[in-house]
Each structure stands twice: as C-alpha cells, then as structure tokens.
Amino acid sequence: MAESDNIFAQFKEHSVAEFFKKNQQMLGFSGKVRSLTTVVHELVTNSIDACEEAGILPEITVNLEELGEEHYRLTVQDNGPGIPKTHVGKALGQMLAGTKFHRYIQQRGQQGIGASGCCMFSYLTTGKPTKAVSCYKGTRYDLEVLIDFKTNKPLLNMISESPTDQHGLTVISEYKGVKHEQSNKGIFEYLRRTALVNPHASITFMDPATGKISLPRSTEIIPPKPFEVKPHPLGISPHDLLETSHQYSTEYRKLSSMLQNAFSRVSSAKVEELRRMVPDVDFDKNPAQLTWEEAEKVVKGFGQVKWIAPATDSLVPIGQAQIENSFKNIFSPELVVVTERSPKVYKGGIPFIVEAGIAYGGGIAAAGKQGEVMRFANKVPLLFDTSGCAITETVKAIDWNRYNLKNFDEEPIAVLVNLASVHIPYTGAGKQAVAAEEEVENEIRFAVMEAARGIQRYLSGKRKAHDIATRKKLVERYVEQLSADLADLSGGKKDRIVKRLNQIIEDKYAGPGAGGEDDEGSATGTKPESDDSEGGDE
C-alpha cells in the first residue's frame, strides 16, 4: 500500500467553492432524483478509484435511509486504504482539491469536485456537516467536515481517534429536497451499471423501499492500473490551463517553461511556434499572472500547432471477457456479444478506446430493459442528459432493421458502450453526456455494429429453428383429420396412419437444415409394426 501514501502529496488548493455553490447544476445537483444519484455517483466513484489504486478488491456498501419526506441519510462505506488525518478535511471539504484533477490519467472522476461537492450540497440542504470515518494505517478517525465557502477551506471537527485493524472510508451525509426512485435514473440502476463495468467490485445496496440488494463481483482480477501521463495540449480547456498555471507557479517562473514541464509533447520548438501563433501573450511572464483571456488565446493556439499524438498505452478498457461475464452475472441474458476497438485519437491527439456489448433476451426482458442504451465513460455510468449524448444518438441512428431488430425500442436488448479516454469530451461539467466528436462517434458506431452482427447471426439462426418448429406444428395439426379421411378412403386403420405420418414429420423436421419445403421425407421404407394401441397426437 505504498502507493496510497504519496498520492496525497499532490493535494493542491483552489478557491472555487463559492463559484460552484452558485452553480450547483454544473455538478449535477439539479432535479430531485438526479441530485441523489449524483451524490452516490461521486462517493462510489471515489471508493472504487481508491481501492483500485491501492490494489484492493472493492467492497462497497451503500445504505440509504429515509428520514422524512424528501429527506435521506446516505452512508457509503468502502474497504479502500482510508485517508490520512492530514488530508481527510481537504478531500471532503475543499473544492477542486483531490488526487485526480492535477494528474492526467484515465480515471473515473476527473475534476476532484465530487466528494466535496456532496459535502457542500448536504450542508446547503440540511445545514449539517458531513460525517466521515477514515480507517487509515491502524487508526480510526471519526470526524465532521464543512466547507468555508468564502475561503474554500475545510472546517474540520475531529471527534475521536482510536486504533483499528480495519481500513477504508465511510462517508455519512444527509440531504433534503431529494427523491429516491426506482427508475433508470435512480440509485439502483446507477449501482447496477457500475457493477456491470466493474466486475471486480462487490456492491451492496440497502434500499429503503425494497431492502438489501447484492451485486456480487464476477471476477477477482483487479484491472491494471492506468498509468499517469502529463496532459496533452489538445485536451486542455482555458480553465484547465489556468488551474495548471496557478498550480505550478512556484515551480516555474516562466509560462514557457511551465508549458514544457507540465504538458506532454511540448518542446521549446513548439513554444516558439506558439509565440508566433499567439503574439499578444507574453510567454515569459509568471504562470501565476496568466489571465482567463490569455489562457483562451493560448488554448486557441494549441489547436493551430501540429502536435505529436499522445501515447495510447495509458488507456485501460474493461475488457471483452469482463463485460461478457458481467452481463451474464447481472442480467443472465440469452446472448451477449462484446466488441473492443483498437485505440484511436480524436481532436488530432486525444487517445480513446470504445468498447461495446450487446445483451439480448433472457433476463434482459425480466429486468425491464427494452432497446436500452447503457452509456459509460471511463467505466462510469452516464444516466442523465440522454438525448444530448453522442453515444445515445449514434446507437439510435443505427439501422437496426439490418440486424433483425426491427423495433429496437421494443426488443429485449441492452447496448453497453464504454468510452475510455484520458480526456472524455463531456458536453458539460455535469459529466453526463459525451459531445459529438466525429472520430468518437465513428468508433461507437463501428463497435456497436460489429456486436450487432453477432446478435443478427444468432437471431437468424434462432428464427430459422423457430420457423422449422412452426412448420412442423402447422403440419402436425392436420395429421388427425387427414388420417381419418385416408383411413376412410383406403379402408385402412386410422391410428396406424397417424403413427406413420407423425414419424415421417418427425424425421423431416428434425436435425440441422431440416424443414425445407421441397425435400421429401427421407425415412427408409421399413414396414411399420401394426401397433394399433399407440399413435395419436404428438
């Protein structure tokens, strides 16, 4: 667990709490159902990331208690490494402070506003602090935390310290004006999808309405850790640049040297190129002095320079086998087809991978899923902003007719799409929809169509078998009557004719390639025994 030590060395401070307080919707705190799902998302995501980094198989319990009308207490407990005393306040009570934002790495969370955002939201709706229990390296810390919006500093109240042999973090917070709902935007669906793309995680949900629900893990293999890379200029927004500049202002005195050290693929030659592209920005100024306007100009300049593409080996997909097992584990569908594409880049330099899985029939129908598109970005379920998302749009635009799925919206089918990238092109800070990047859309389309072909092959085979069975049944219906009339005309025994005729039908419509309309029954002409007691139907 040596890893978990140094990640906290990278904590940096930012004063943006006030801004986000006024713009809660940017963090996903809008709508009663969505707000609660967002809280669960932020906390669970943190837990899985922490476990993964520490090489621990995640055991996560989410306990929701209904305290009153639109008033809930949420407890999220993990078995991760816990957080040291020195960082726990910042982790939960300081906006944009975290282990994630300043590292360019494919992770579930990206901006470090998650847990502290929940803390803020809890305080704003109930006036109460968030409680946390962190078991870290043999010590259990019980504490309460608030955010000082003016200074963006955590207000920490350490309640107790005691020895423990446990490890992990528990966050307990209350919310008002939120709603728990059994829908495809609710907590259970969120957790179910999280389990789907994190087959190594074991998740338990205590639902106040339906009781305890377990989503056991389907594999003991912890996915490989994505390794850290410096951000590539093409994936940077003015806001990112500003944050990074401020962050490195003590290490680098000039903007030019900061760019070369904090970003990948930025050489001195490229900085010279930028100087020519953006003449009204002084690249020799202190990074701390960079203004928003200047940052905008530099980012515009980034787009005009020809960069060497970033390395793609930092991407970690879920994996075909994992998705397949996971689908089977959670939904027990009739058929699962999973495809994984090779890494590609978008915007000229940001690497990404698309994985797609289609589950058909069986438990899919039982789970109430029809023509459902399950979107994921770096293994995080995207439940909201469905219509504005490039994944949904791309999947729906596919001509499903070609794959024997005439009415996509009514078929028992669930389409999973996971987009893995060091920089997901979200449409907004709520991180619920993927923007329409042409390269990304193409990859999504190809991946889903490839999987759809597998479904099609299966369905046409199934349809054929079904057709043969239908034909057989259709013919069998008339055996009794035909035999009676034939017995009448020929003076033979009806039961004997029924028996023979049924045998002929059985032979004709059995086995592969059976049921052709033109091939005659191929049974041998052996004399039947005259067993009149038998025969009859089927």
Binding site: R477, I497, G521
Partner: protein, 365 residues
C-alpha cells in the same frame, strides 16, 4: 356404372396416399396447373383446355398442408354421397365439413365456402372426373323446350319427361345431365340458344320449336355447367347449335363460353364446349339488312368497348375474319344492339329473323 368408376377413383387416391406413407414419404397427388399461362386454345378440337403443366400437391408443406387435408376430406365426404346416392350443393358440402379439427385446435376444417371451390377443381382434375360425378349439384338456371324426351332416374323413381309438354315454363335444365339421365327420343333439326329468358318465353308462346322442329334453349345469361353439358350432348347428336345473343360484351362472352369454354373452367375441356356453335345474331351488320334496327341501337358502354378490344386479342377469335370485322365495327360506331330490339317492329319478327339467318347461313363462326 359411372358411380362405381367414381368410387374407385376416390378410393384409389386414398390407397395410393397410404402406400406413400407406408413407404416413409409424405402423401402427394398430382393435378394440372390451372392458371392463365397454362390455358391454351386447342385448334384441333376448337376449345380452350389446360396445358401440360402439372403441379404436385404435398401434405408436408407449410403452404399446402391445410388445403391438402381439406381436399382429402372432400374426397372422403363426397365418396359417402356417391355411395348413399344423395346429392348436395357445394354449400351443403361446406356445412358437412364445417366442424372443429379438435378440442385443442382452435380451427375448423373449413371456415369459408370459398376455400372449397378450388379444391373441388383440384379433385376433378386429379381424378379426371366432374363435380357432378361427386354428387355435387350446382344452381339451375337454363330452360329448354322442344321435340325431345328424357328419362330421369331420380329419388328412386324413373320419370319420362316430354319436353314438348312443359307449357309456358319449359323444362328446367338440371345441374347434372349425365348421371341418372338419358335422352330417350330426339327428333329435332337444330338447337336454338337465345340469351335471354324473355325472348325464350316469346318464342315459346309462338311455338317456335314446334314450327321449326328445333330444341329451344335459354341459358338465362351465362350458361351453367348443366346447360353447357346439355348443349354438348345435343351437338354430339349432330344437331347444329345456333346462338342468338345481344350484340354487346356480355352477349359475346356468353357465346364464346358456350363455344370454346371459359378460361376458369378450361380444365373441363371439350366436355363443356360446343365448338360447332354458330352466332346468328344480333350483329352490327344487321343494321344494313334491317333498317328499323338503325334507330334501335344504343351507345356501347366502356365495358363493351374494352371487351371488344380484348376479344380482338384472343387467338381463337381473331382467327375468324368475320369476328374481326364485326368487332372493329363496334369499336368504330361505339354502338350496341340488344336482341330485344328485334321485337321493335313486330313481336313475331324474331322468328322470321332467325329463319332468314339460318336459311341464308348468315352467321358468324
């Protein structure tokens, strides 16, 4: 005799299928394709008949299983009718066969009468018999009077029918003139077929058949199978058959059905056709001959024009230059003449007209 042959054919059909089943094959039977493309005009005998294209009906086929079973059901049921010497209509047969296929099957053997019509034709063709042989009756429509006596064995009785003693109504032509019916005495010079019952009644009142020594027949519109069979039988007795129809689409159609048979029943071939029939009127050329008809023409309808055009395209019609000339005149003048117009001047003129036509051999082939 005929009954025994029919019974044997039906029973052989069943025995053959059981043999197929015993050999491990699905039961089948062969029939002749009854489509327009397999309908040909046979110049040698002068009527329409079906071609040589055969069709195999199979029980082990999704598309045919039900109709196959239904066809065999008809065979089995009609065999019973023949054995019991009882007749019924196709409607009656339909009700005999309209029963559930079984408690667990939500389906009747037959649910619509229309289902059975094609299947009866299948049986007729496959076994080389007529539906009349299966004791299936059809509605009667035609009437006849004249110097002919018929022996009718029916309902366990034998009746001698003198067609000169049928009064004003004439003898109604039965649906089957072959089974249980013999022409005992026939002493006529020719057969006259008039399209309309009204004209038949007019001529009957004049005792036209007596004066002319002819058999006076009206199919009362389109001919039934019974009427066509009767005309065939009379033609077989070497009597010329003259037809007096309207000069319009419907009249022509009735005539050509008598003469060459219809496309629908082409499979019946010569048994139901009278290639020797002649069309004595009414024709467009009559206008030149009889002035008063000039004023009695009426405008041809679209259907008449269309039919005339169609007929010009039929090889068995356009091989007669007389008909081509007649039809072209219709297309040119766009007029038609009804046979009733012949009464326009004098009620008894019709008889004179017919006489004149036959004597002068003024007819269309």
């Amino acid at each position: 005799m005929a009954e025994r042959a029919t019974l044997k054919k039906l029973e052989d059909m069943g025995t053959g299928m059981v043999k197929q089943i015993d050999a491990g094959d699905g039961p089948t039977f062969e029939t002749v394709l009854r489509t327009k493309s397999n309908t040909i005009y046979d110049e040698g005998i002068g009527c329409l008949r079906t071609g040589d294209k055969k069709e195999l009906r199979k029980f082990l086929s999704m598309a045919q299983a039900k109709t196959f079973m239904q066809t065999v059901a008809i065979a089995s049921k009609t065999r019973k009718f023949v054995k019991e010497e009882l007749h019924t209509s196709i409607r009656g047969l339909f009700y005999q066969l309209k029963f559930s296929l079984g408690e667990d099957l939500d389906e009747d053997l037959f649910s619509e009468q229309s289902e059975s019509n094609g299947l009866i034709e299948d049986l007729e063709v496959a076994l080389g018999i007529k539906r009349e042989d299966l004791n299936l009756t059809t509605d009667r429509k035609g009437f006849v009077a004249g110097p002919m006596t018929i022996l009718d064995r029916f309902g366990g009785e034998e009746t001698l029918i003198d067609l000169e003693k049928q009064g004003r109504s004439g003898w109604s032509i039965p649906s089957d003139v072959d089974n249980g019916m013999d022409i005992k005495k026939l002493d006529a010079d020719y057969v006259l077929v008039v399209e309309k019952d009204a004209l038949w009644q007019r001529l009957n009142e004049d005792k036209f058949w007596k004066k002319e020594n002819c058999i006076l027949v009206t199919p009362k519109g389109q001919s039934t199978r019974g009427t066509r069979r009767l005309l065939r039988k009379l033609a077989d007795r070497k009597l010329p058959v003259y037809c007096l129809m309207d000069c319009d689409a419907w009249g022509w159609y009735i005539y050509w059905t008598i003469k060459t048979g219809s496309m629908n029943l082409a499979y019946l071939g010569r048994d139901f056709a009278v290639p020797e029939a002649r069309f004595i009127g009414v024709t467009m050329s009559d206008i030149d001959e009889f002035d008063f008809l000039q004023k009695l023409t009426i405008n041809a309808k679209e259907v008449d024009i269309k039919r005339a055009e169609e007929m010009l395209g039929y090889p068995w019609i356009n091989r007669h230059p007389e008909w081509v000339k007649e039809l072209k005149m219709v297309l040119k003048t766009k007029k038609k003449i009804e046979q009733d117009a012949l009464q326009g001047q004098r009620l008894t003129f019709v008889g004179e007209y017919i006489n004149k036509k036959i004597k002068k051999k003024d007819w269309l082939p």
